[in-house]
């Protein structure tokens, strides 16, 4: 394999992980971690300039280019955030240097796994990558080694591995469907080949396969009723990991699902996967929206909101059609930006207040104006209020599907409204009213948070044509 941006994309994290595992001092490791993430980002950006050749194992196309850049970008900003976050954690002695070393190594491994999952052209390889990503996050969720953290990790691990198993079974079935057409060997697992030849596959077998894939990768996406691991993993892990989970890992799993959906779409005769996705999406939206109302833990609340948004996205892709798919992609991108920004804010807030319990946080806009208003802005963005970007994607989703499926869309809209109610009910307490809890100035790095929010704001007002063009191509491919 010739050395190009693609390999660099995978090598940098691996090497970094190896080095980080050896270095003791956390300042150095944090810096190095940041540096590695930056280089990965640069490499990813270079994909737009020179497009490397796609082989049987790795590929780059419109679909994953965007995701790679997004992933590496959020990965980078998160590493910036995590530097200041982890510093604070060590000061208050929640983490020992050994664990920080482990943490950084794992962070890079996770980056590697996600990049691999995104660039993999071989569905087996993609499966392996997703699995590795899951396992690393399991370890990171458990890193605080508190009762709750371990249990959250355990829950995540068990449910995750079942998901992995189902996904593998689905993958095998796809291979079985492909083999008679393509013949034995690796080619029958190469995605590009599969899409090209999908027309001749046995549709029924593909249907069964998609059921398993939907459930398997759907577990990672966090669709109800497979979501159970998600809220606790978000709530108990270190906040940078919550950001990465919501912002990236869910996307990666969804990305895998999309790849298979494209195969399904290519093979007529197979039941369109749409209905399944629409139903699961709606269930997730309504369920998560209702769950928001009883939350007492701020990170867990936003985790549920992630479930809700994944539901919206899956709904959009399930509905299909150029507009809806475009909106779905846009929503994915903006959601990961917004949600990670929110988690940055929440992380610092939790550190300032020394708790994640909503009941003990209050009047943030008075005590910590920047954090408080940042959180408000993030919440405004995430519930889909203009002029921030998510309004645009929700506008497109609803307006383009309502004419086709009035009742389903009405349910979706209801879910969105309920979610808004739930989030703001808590936000009012957290951001406004008389200040509560500890009040100390936050030593926070605001840059990542506001960078993300600025991007989301920009997306709501002006989308760069290049992005639009890329998304439109993919939207057409998704059918």
């Amino acid at each position: 394999m010739t050395f190009d941006a693609l390999t660099a994309l995978l090598l940098i994290p691996v090497v970094a992980a190896a080095i980080l595992a050896l270095l003791p001092d956390y300042r150095v490791t944090a810096a190095l971690n940041l540096l590695a993430a930056l280089f990965t980002l640069i490499t990813a950006a270079s994909l737009f300039v020179v497009q490397p050749v796609s082989g049987r194992y790795l590929l780059v196309d419109d679909l994953n280019k965007v995701f790679i850049v997004l992933t590496t970008f959020v990965g980078f900003t998160t590493s910036v955030f995590s530097a200041s976050y982890i510093g604070h954690e060590i000061e208050i002695g929640r983490l020992t240097p050994t664990f920080v070393r482990f943490y950084h190594a794992m962070y890079q491994t996770l980056m590697f796994a996600m990049n691999l999952a995104l660039v993999a052209n071989n569905i087996g390889l993609m499966w392996v990558a997703v699995e590795v990503a899951t396992l690393t996050t399991v370890l990171m969720v458990g890193i605080y080694r508190t009762h709750e953290a371990l249990e959250a990790a355990w829950k995540y691990f068990i449910l995750g591995s079942v998901g992995i198993a189902l996904a593998l079974f689905g993958t095998i079935l796809v291979y079985m469907a492909a083999r008679p057409v393509i013949g034995e060997g690796t080619d029958a697992m190469v995605w590009t080949v599969l899409v090209a030849r999908a027309t001749q596959f046995d549709p029924a077998l593909l249907n069964v396969a998609f059921v398993f894939l939907l459930l398997g990768y759907g577990t990672k996406v966090g669709l109800a009723p497979l979501h159970a691991w998600l809220p606790d993993a978000h709530a108990e892990g270190p906040t940078p990991i919550s950001a990465v989970l919501s912002g990236l890992l869910l996307n990666v799993a969804l990305y895998a699902l999309l790849r298979f959906k494209m195969i399904m779409a290519a093979c007529e005769g197979a039941i369109a996967p749409g209905p399944l996705m629409v139903v699961m999406g709606l269930i997730s939206v309504i369920f998560a929206a209702l769950m928001l109302y009883r939350r007492r833990d701020i990170k867990r609340m936003f985790a549920y909101s992630s479930i809700e948004h994944m539901g919206i996205i899956v709904f959009a892709f399930g509905m299909g059609g150029a507009l809806a798919n475009f909106a779905g992609l846009l929503h994915m991108t903006l959601h990961s930006l917004t949600k990670s920004a929110i988690f940055f804010a929440v992380g610092h807030i939790a550190q300032v207040k020394g708790t994640q319990k909503i009941a003990d946080i209050g009047g943030l806009t008075v005590t910590n104006p920047v954090l408080g208003w940042g959180l408000v802005l993030g919440a405004v963005a995430i519930v889909g209020l203009p002029p921030l970007g998510i309004f645009m994607s929700e506008f497109l989703i609803v307006s383009s599907t309502f004419a086709r499926q009035p009742w389903l869309t009405a349910i979706l809209v209801l879910g969105i409204l309920i979610a808004l109610g739930g989030l703001f009910m808590r936000l009012n307490v957290v951001a406004f009213g008389e200040p509560k809890g500890l009040t100390k100035p936050a030593e926070a790095s605001y840059v990542p948070m506001f960078t993300h929010l600025a991007l989301v704001l920009m997306a709501g007002i002006y989308l760069p044509p290049a992005l639009v063009a890329g998304f439109s191509n993919v939207a057409r491919l998704l059918g």
Binding site: E151, A152, L168, F169, M189, D232, A359
Partner: protein, 223 residues
């Protein structure tokens, strides 16, 4: 010759399903572990047979992994854990064994219908093997769902994974089978579960997941 191939393959696959049923039936940990060893052994045999028929030497690795690793090492390790943690030997089941069996039968029927009736297109051998594999997977899930005790759940999970390996090997010429089986067995079954068991051991005196699940996420305050 071909007929024989099929028959042996089916025989082994079928007996794997049977072994799953035996797992489902057990209500004592040690017996469960022994049956699991048997389960893994049968798997090893069928994988080996596939290796033989498909002339795919790399499958022998998978077979040997299954044999050494799942049939011997893991049962022994779990045996140790049970002894060390002094877990009492009975398995509390959520559902009475009888009902579980009926459910299991239903699942097997379901997988047969799905694989044989619904997908006439695919080639016969693959479909039948897949049918067995699917039922093993479903039975494994059923075990995880109906057992209240960590060890037995782990066992359920591993039997599920055996089903996967069966499917993978039955899929003629599928690449990465070895890697996958390695990934699964080594990575998941042993290290991580081991780590977790020990971590948990540090904190509680039992691996009964019931104790784990006292965690209600937010049980700290009224909800």
């Amino acid at each position: 010759m071909h007929g024989l191939e099929f028959d042996v393959a089916h025989l082994l696959a079928g007996s794997l399903v049977l072994a799953s049923f035996m797992l489902l039936y057990q209500d004592r940990l040690y017996a469960l572990l022994n049956v699991y060893a048997l389960h893994a052994f049968v798997l090893a045999l069928s994988v080996a047979w596939q290796a033989f028929v498909q002339h795919a030497p790399h499958l022998y690795i998978t077979a040997s992994i299954a044999l050494i690793f799942k049939a011997i090492v893991i049962p022994v390790a779990l045996h140790r854990i049970i002894v060390k943690l002094g877990i009492h030997r009975e398995i509390e089941t959520a559902l009475s064994v009888g009902l579980t069996m009926i459910g299991g039968i239903g699942l097997v029927a379901l997988s047969m219908v799905v694989m044989l009736r619904v997908t006439p297109g695919a080639d016969a051998l693959a479909r039948e093997d897949l049918a067995f594999a699917l039922s093993v997977v479903l039975l494994g899930l059923l075990i995880m769902v109906t057992r209240r005790n960590a060890v037995s759940q782990v066992v359920g999970f591993m039997s599920l994974e055996n089903g996967l390996v069966l499917a993978a090997t039955a899929a003629k010429g599928m690449p990465l089978v070895v890697e996958i089986s390695v990934a699964f067995s080594v990575l998941i079954a042993f290290i991580v579960i081991g780590i977790f068991l020990f971590r948990i051991r540090e904190r509680f005196d039992s691996v009964d997941i019931g104790a784990l699940d006292r965690f209600r996420g937010e049980s700290g305050y009224d909800v």
